[in-house]
């Protein structure tokens, strides 16, 4: 019996010793050593339990066994509690030591910028695509046929003069297109009516460089051909475009004009968005800005395409991308677009 009592006392001593030691532990690795010492395979506790077999009485065996299990559970529980609180403590410490000045600058690359003309072309393209216009493209190096003949521009028209158009050494009829209206013809030749297209592209005019003019610039050309297309629809389309482009409702003014490939033709002014027709520097104190030219497609142009365009009507319009960009962004010199000063491009 003494052996039994000793056994119980011994077990409780180990338990008390272990729990006392535990109170001094403040690090995870020390806790792991403690675990080895009291709960590991080679722990005092296990050594003691190996002696359990020497007890004869089944009852005693059972009661000591139960005690041993209770103690083991208590120690395991304590271990887990300590582990939990110790790791929390360590994270708290890490947080305390690792705080930074969150106002220091971010580490980044400079962001790149699109050229302002890119942005304007995308904007124009998106607006017209929203109205059901398909975007198409045509070549910049063109023929007399597409640049003039097909557009009802007489052989003798002053626009054909060398003073306005660049001719090339490729062949006498090959020139740098002076307008994107060429794409109208190319699109109609390829497609049966109805069709509704825009084309944005580069054009060339033989002009001296100054703040307003550059021999290279870009145009947007629009064309809608269908049965019963009328001037009122042209007005709707362009009014809509101007409102969407300038992001506000602006008054427009359709003035009669003359272009060989449209009839009736109009020049469209919009209310100056900077001064609301009061007059300012941007609009040259006129209160109105000349935005684009347009009109009903001339029957001769349709007739030239072929019989499939008979009985159809259409409207067409054209506008300068640089001019729209200059108005939109308040740029006063067209040369900025082609100097490509990074301080300029980075503003957009």
């Amino acid at each position: 019996m003494v052996f039994n009592e000793n056994f119980e006392i011994e077990l409780n001593n180990i338990k008390n010793e272990a729990l006392t030691k535990l109170t001094d532990i403040n690090k995870i690795d020390l806790l792991e050593i403690w675990k080895q010492e009291y709960l590991g395979r080679k722990s005092k506790f296990n050594d003691l339990l190996k002696l359990l077999g020497k007890i004869d009485s089944i009852e005693q065996k059972k009661s000591i066994g139960e005690l041993a299990n209770t103690i083991k559970e208590t120690l395991n529980q304590s271990y887990e509690n300590y582990q939990q609180s110790l790791s929390e403590l360590e994270i708290t410490k890490q947080i305390e030591t690792e705080s930074i000045d969150i106002t220091l600058p971010g580490l980044n690359r400079k962001s790149g910028h699109y050229h302002p003309l890119s942005l304007i072309c995308q904007r124009i393209g998106n607006i017209f695509q929203g109205m059901g216009f398909n975007q198409v493209f045509g070549p910049e190096i063109e023929t007399n046929y597409y640049n003039f003949d097909a557009l009802n521009i007489d052989f003798d028209h002053p626009a054909r003069d060398e003073q306005d158009t660049f001719y090339t050494n490729v062949a006498p009829h090959v020139l740098l297109r002076s307008q994107t209206s060429t794409v109208q013809i190319r699109a109609m030749e390829k497609t049966n009516p109805p069709l509704k297209i825009i084309s944005i592209g580069r054009v060339y005019r033989n002009e001296e460089i100054n703040a307003r003019k550059y021999p290279i610039f870009h145009q947007v050309e629009g064309l809608y051909v269908n049965k019963n297309v009328n001037f009122g629809q042209l007005k709707w389309t362009l009014q809509k475009f101007i409102n969407l482009f300038f992001e506000r409702d602006l008054k427009t003014r359709f003035r009669p004009d003359f272009f060989p490939f449209t009839e009736p033709s109009a020049e469209v002014d919009c209310e100056c968005p900077f001064c609301e027709t009061q007059g300012c520097k941007t609009c040259g104190y006129k209160g109105w800005l000349e935005i684009l030219g347009c009109g009903m497609v001339h029957p001769n142009v349709l007739k030239n395409i072929g019989p499939n365009y008979e009985n159809y009507e259409g409207f067409a319009f054209g506008m300068g991308v640089e001019r729209l960009a200059m108005i939109k962004f308040g740029i006063n010199d067209i040369r900025y677009f082609y100097n490509n000063d990074i301080r300029f491009i980075e503003q957009f």
């Binding site: 690359r109 090339t168 062949a171 359709f254 009736p264």
Partner: protein
């Protein structure tokens, strides 16, 4: 072009229309008014001619005197005057109380009041020319009037009223509106006001008509000159140009020359018909006027005193063999009107627009006349303009030249124009404009514009355009345009346009490439496609360049990129990352060009969309963590990495791309390559390389710059469409393999050999380290990742693949493994 408001008022009553509202109206009806300015000072009456009856000293002052001035049959005024050029009996301008004149010191408005000057009453003011806003030389003294009598209203007689000048953009298709009468006709149509015809009826001067000579007109070619008129006047003695005519011409910027020339200029601006006057006495008197082409080296001194050498491009008027003038452009010095001219020959003609344009270009000489002939004068206008000139000469000249005689008109050619009948369909009018006009409305509009309605039925009108609109109205659509214009564009209701089916849109490879580069921190640039002439013989040249800097079409974006690079370097930019996405231009195939060029619809030019980028320096923001900067050596690989990402984003398989060293004038010969796509056939895609050390040196660069250029058209051709592959769940196994190779073996060859020898279980192969062992040997480590989507690969399986790779590598290359 300048138009005088008061002059327009001669032909259409504008008393209820202000100059500004007229300008706004014209702007909305096809004639853009750029500006409305004033002419003359704002002088207001009563300003009366007064006769000086007495001049007496002022009792309290030495420098001023007292005058008594008769201003009507019954009324005499006391007026104090400070000027000393007046004498008793002079007729002078008198501004009465209530008048506004100009302050001669500062040109401000000077209101006239009854006042006391040093104790003496002054009931008005005697005026100098300057005080009335007149540009007389003698501006210091009082304006002494000739041929005036007391009581005459000088506001009317001296044309002192302020006028308004409308600056109207001339329309190339409307030669009929290049004159005051023509513009007034347009205004009358717009407002639906009656038109007042100019006075051209010579009946009242019938007794001055006399056939005192006969003129012969010979026209060599009626195409150049369809109609030619002459008339003569004799017994002319020089006299001052009428004040009204001088003022009107001056108001539109035409200098007064002399009586006859001023009248011809007046008719030009009033009727739109250029006129010319010859001094008959200076001709060789055989009375032959020949309209012919110039002869080689024929010479004429024009009235601008310059000698012109003529040739067959120029049309001339000759007196027998002697050139008198350059037809339609400028007269000759030798037959110019002078103070002694006694007999005058007036010319009014129609010349071919093209002929005059070529003649004018050839001589580099243009005038108010040539400007109008180039746009086309109206034949029907020739005779009435000539009559108008004679009318004005007699009207203003007879008082001082009572013996003046005029001849009948001598004509050659044909004054008839072919009248066109145009049939316009009402349904077409309404469908084009989106309106519902009736036949009556349409007829009314057309009649206002001078059209004749030949016939109408329910749906159709047959009309004839007026003879001054034969040039621009030739088809029914021209008539519809005129209806729209007069109806008013602002009155056409807005209709929503239908949407129609979309065309298939091609994926925009350009936008994709741009967005990758912008994301990398590149700034987009747009450069000129016309660049300076270069050495390339194939480049497309512009035959009429504006300058040497814009002479050929670029075949590459690189020159533009380097220019913009330089531009920004010069502006102290240290880190430059730029790109351009644009076209280059080349002639397609020289062999076929001769046959191709015959086709008027083709150009034989290839336009290729290229993407080109340049990096210089670092585009990271200043790095306060002070990481070590990369070495120059890395610029090439840095850009190559970006290029590879662009290609991947465009759907290109990087494993099919090979690089090959090249020689390019702008690139470092040891650090530049062209790269190609090896799909079915090998296709060059572009080039990449470091800027040539010579350029580096020239630009004094501190870092290395690197460039690539990529053919986007080709990328579009080979672009793979994204396609989903199911994601394997089996583990990926990695193995490193380290190979020592001779330096001259290209890494790209080694890598593709590895990929070739491995089977499909190799999913990627990446170079993870490179180490130069010695001058000749490099050690490369590749990480190979293996995966079989169906089973987990065993170590044995992978070992056997690796062994196979090693075996094949050692067979083909001089390699050792570690």
């Amino acid at each position: 072009m300048k138009f005088s408001y008061s002059w327009l008022n001669d032909f259409v009553n504008l008393s209820n229309i202000s100059p500004q509202s007229l300008a706004d109206k014209l702007t909305n009806y096809a004639f853009e008014v750029e500006e409305v300015s004033t002419y003359g000072a704002n002088i207001v009456g009563p300003i009366i001619a007064g006769k000086i009856l007495e001049i007496n000293p002022h009792p309290n002052a030495d420098k001023i005197r007292l005058t008594k001035v008769q201003i009507s049959d019954t009324e005499i005024r006391d007026i104090v005057c400070g000027a000393w050029n007046i004498e008793v009996g002079n007729v002078v301008p008198v501004a009465l109380p209530g008048a506004l004149v100009l302050n001669r010191h500062d040109n401000s408005v000077l209101p006239i009041k009854k006042s006391k000057i040093r104790g003496q009453t002054s009931d008005g003011m005697l005026c100098s020319a300057a005080e009335l806003g007149l540009n007389n030389n003698d501006s210091n003294g009082i304006y002494i009037l000739d041929n005036f009598y007391p009581g005459q209203n000088l506001i009317e007689k001296l044309y002192l009223n302020q006028d308004f000048i409308l600056h109207i953009e001339p329309r190339s298709n409307r030669p009929d509106a290049l004159s005051h009468f023509g513009m007034a006709r347009e205004i009358a149509a717009i407002y639906d006001f009656p038109l007042i015809e100019p006075q051209t009826n010579l009946d009242e001067f019938k007794q001055h008509c006399e056939n005192f000579l006969k003129l012969n007109i010979i026209i060599e070619n009626l195409d150049d000159c369809p109609y030619f008129l002459l008339a003569a006047l004799k017994n002319f003695k020089a006299l001052p140009s009428p004040l009204k005519i001088q003022r009107r011409l001056e108001s539109i910027g035409v200098r007064s020359i002399n009586f006859i020339v001023d009248i011809t200029n007046y008719v030009l601006h009033e009727m739109g018909q250029p006129m010319h006057a010859y001094d008959y006495n200076k001709l060789n008197q055989n009375n032959n006027f020949i309209v012919r082409k110039g002869l080689p080296n024929e010479v004429i001194t024009a009235i601008d005193n310059r000698e012109k050498i003529l040739d067959s491009t120029n049309l001339i008027i000759a007196n027998d063999s002697i050139p008198l003038g350059i037809a339609g452009i400028m007269g000759g010095k030798d037959s110019e009107i002078s103070d002694t001219t006694n007999t005058i020959v007036l010319e009014s003609a129609t010349f071919n627009a093209k002929t005059i344009r070529h003649s004018s270009r050839k001589l580099g000489l243009s005038s108010d006349s040539s400007l109008r002939f180039e746009r086309g004068v109206i034949k029907a206008n020739n005779l009435i303009s000539l009559q108008r000139a004679i009318y004005l000469i007699l009207n203003y000249g007879l008082a001082q030249n009572p013996d003046l005689k005029y001849s009948s008109v001598f004509a050659q050619g044909n004054s008839e124009s072919d009248l066109v009948e145009l049939t316009v369909n009402l349904i077409k009018i309404n469908s084009t404009l989106g309106l519902a006009l009736t036949i009556v409305q349409v007829s009314n509009i057309l009649m206002r514009l001078g059209f004749k309605i030949v016939s109408t039925d329910n749906n159709e009108l047959v009309v004839t355009p007026p003879n001054y609109r034969l040039k621009d109205i030739t088809s029914p659509i021209d008539v519809i345009e005129e209806i729209a214009r007069l109806y008013g564009y602002e009155n056409i209701p807005i209709n929503k346009a239908d949407s129609i089916d979309s065309l298939p849109s091609n994926t925009n490879i350009s936008n994709l490439a741009n967005s990758v580069l912008v994301g990398y921190g590149f700034n987009e640039i747009w450069t000129s496609s016309l660049i300076p002439k270069n050495i390339s013989a194939n480049s497309i040249r512009v035959l009429n360049p504006i300058s040497r800097d814009h002479e050929v079409l670029r075949e590459s974006l690189i020159p533009g990129l380097i220019e913009v690079f330089k531009y920004n370097l010069d502006r102290q930019y240290k880190d430059i990352w730029i790109f351009e996405n644009a076209f280059t231009y080349t002639i397609k195939d020289n062999n076929n060009s001769s046959t191709q060029s015959l086709n008027p619809k083709t150009t034989n030019v290839q336009e290729t969309r290229m993407l080109s980028a340049l990096i210089y320096g670092n585009n990271e923001n200043s790095n306060w963590l002070a990481h070590t900067k990369e070495t120059d050596y890395c610029a090439y690989f840095r850009l190559k990495g970006i290029l590879e990402n662009v290609l991947t984003n465009l759907g290109m398989d990087l494993n099919l791309i090979t690089y090959e060293i090249i020689n390019h004038p702008q690139l470092h010969p040891g650090r530049s390559a062209k790269f190609a796509y090896n799909a079915d056939i090998k296709t060059d895609l572009g080039i990449i390389g470091e800027l040539h050390p010579q350029i580096n040196h020239k630009f004094n660069l501190k870092n290395r710059a690197c460039i690539f250029e990529l053919d986007l058209n080709k990328c579009e051709q080979y672009q793979a469409k994204a396609k989903f592959k199911s994601i394997a769940v089996t583990p990926v196994v990695s193995r490193d393999i380290t190979i020592d190779v001779l330096k001259n073996i290209l890494q790209q060859d080694l890598k593709s050999a590895i990929i070739n020898y491995a089977d499909s279980k190799l999913i990627n192969c990446e170079l993870t380290s490179l180490y130069h062992l010695n001058e000749n040997t490099t050690s490369l480590t590749y990480r190979l990742n293996f995966q079989d989507p169906n089973t987990t690969l065993t170590a044995i399986e992978i070992d056997s693949i690796i062994d196979l790779i090693k075996l094949n590598l050692s067979k083909n290359y001089q390699v050792t493994f570690r």
